[in-house]
């Protein structure tokens, strides 16, 4: 895969993310804010942007969003759990809900 294709994929992913974020926020603002881990200001701003503005934001060689886990050990704990895959998901969700609080 050459770099042009990769860049295109990054931009597509950015735009998909932004569009989905908008949809979620319009559907249920508080729940979306929780899912997206956005501050109130940022959530309101994203919601107000036009599709043209969104695609301008998306047009970059970097990702607009990043992993919400800061701590690699934490992720290692989640993926390293051997016992019960359902519990692993629950654990991930639990730790991520906290990641939201830590970053806000």
């Amino acid at each position: 895969m050459n770099i042009e294709e990769l860049l295109e994929e990054i931009q597509d992913t950015n735009l998909t993310y932004l569009l989905l974020a908008q949809r979620l926020l319009k559907e249920d603002y508080a729940a979306a804010q929780f899912r997206l881990k956005l501050t109130d200001d940022m959530a309101k701003l994203l919601m107000s942007l036009s599709t043209r503005q969104l695609s301008r934001l998306a047009r970059t060689n970097q990702f607009l969003f990043r992993l919400c886990f800061d701590n690699a050990d934490q992720v290692q704990k989640i993926v390293g759990e051997k016992r019960d895959s359902a519990m692993m998901q629950t654990h991930a969700s639990l730790l991520m809900s906290r990641a939201a609080a830590a970053n806000a």
Partner: protein
């Protein structure tokens, strides 16, 4: 004029809240505490939404249930979401409660596991936190926050996922498979309790609510 319109809207909001709570499985005690609708109106609403009369009997009242293995993890997930919604996002208490419970259910469904924490339990949990009986403690291993009795020394606390008790490996799936083969009409909360009992530990929770969980069991 404006006043009466306002109260109409407020009333509608109350009814909507009650309907949401009923749909999620709320008992009458929860509805009476959280809405200002009359008991008679709530009864009618309940019958309309569910098609049956609300179950009678007391709500669960023990904090210990929330400390047993499976319930603890589920409770911690739910309360973590609730806390984020109220503290970080400024959601109002009861709205945050309903939203947090929905988000919790969503995750449980994704995980293909049972909603161990019923709505009434979740509500009791909230009340226990509000009255200072329970607190969140941080696991020293994964840094997640988990439900604990208040004022428990938790300097070296490790959560039930990072250090599961030996009996905890049996998944809810495995258990429900077992059920299918034995044909037992078991219920969500029962299954959680079945484990400690089988190991000779003392069953941690009160029996009050057990027979009432059947509705939520969702057997196919």
């Amino acid at each position: 004029m404006e006043n009466s319109e306002k109260s109409l809207v407020a009333r509608m909001h109350q009814v909507q809240l009650a309907v949401n709570l009923i749909e999620l499985g709320a008992r009458l005690q929860v509805l009476e505490t959280e809405t200002d609708l009359s008991r008679g109106r709530l009864l009618r609403l309940y019958k309309e939404v569910r098609g049956i009369s609300p179950p009678k009997g007391m709500l669960p009242f023990s904090t210990d249930w929330f400390l047993t293995w499976g319930p603890n993890i589920h409770s911690s997930l739910f309360y973590g979401i609730y806390e984020t919604l109220t503290q970080e996002q400024g959601c109002k208490r009861i709205d945050a409660f309903v939203k947090a419970y929905r988000l919790y259910l969503e995750q449980v469904m994704l995980d293909d596991s049972e909603p161990v924490l019923g709505l009434n339990r979740a509500w009791t949990l909230l009340r226990f936190f509000e009255s200072g009986l329970l607190e969140l403690a941080e696991c020293t291993s994964c840094h997640g926050r988990f439900v604990m009795h208040a004022h428990t020394p938790c300097k070296d606390y490790v959560c039930g996922i990072c250090r599961p008790p030996s009996r905890a490996g049996k998944t809810s799936k495995a258990r429900s498979k077992l059920q299918e083969t034995t044909g037992q009409d078991n219920v969500v909360v029962d299954m959680q309790h079945a484990q400690p009992v089988a190991n000779g530990d003392t069953p941690a929770a009160e029996p009050v609510e057990l027979p009432r969980k059947r509705v939520a069991g969702g057997r196919h």
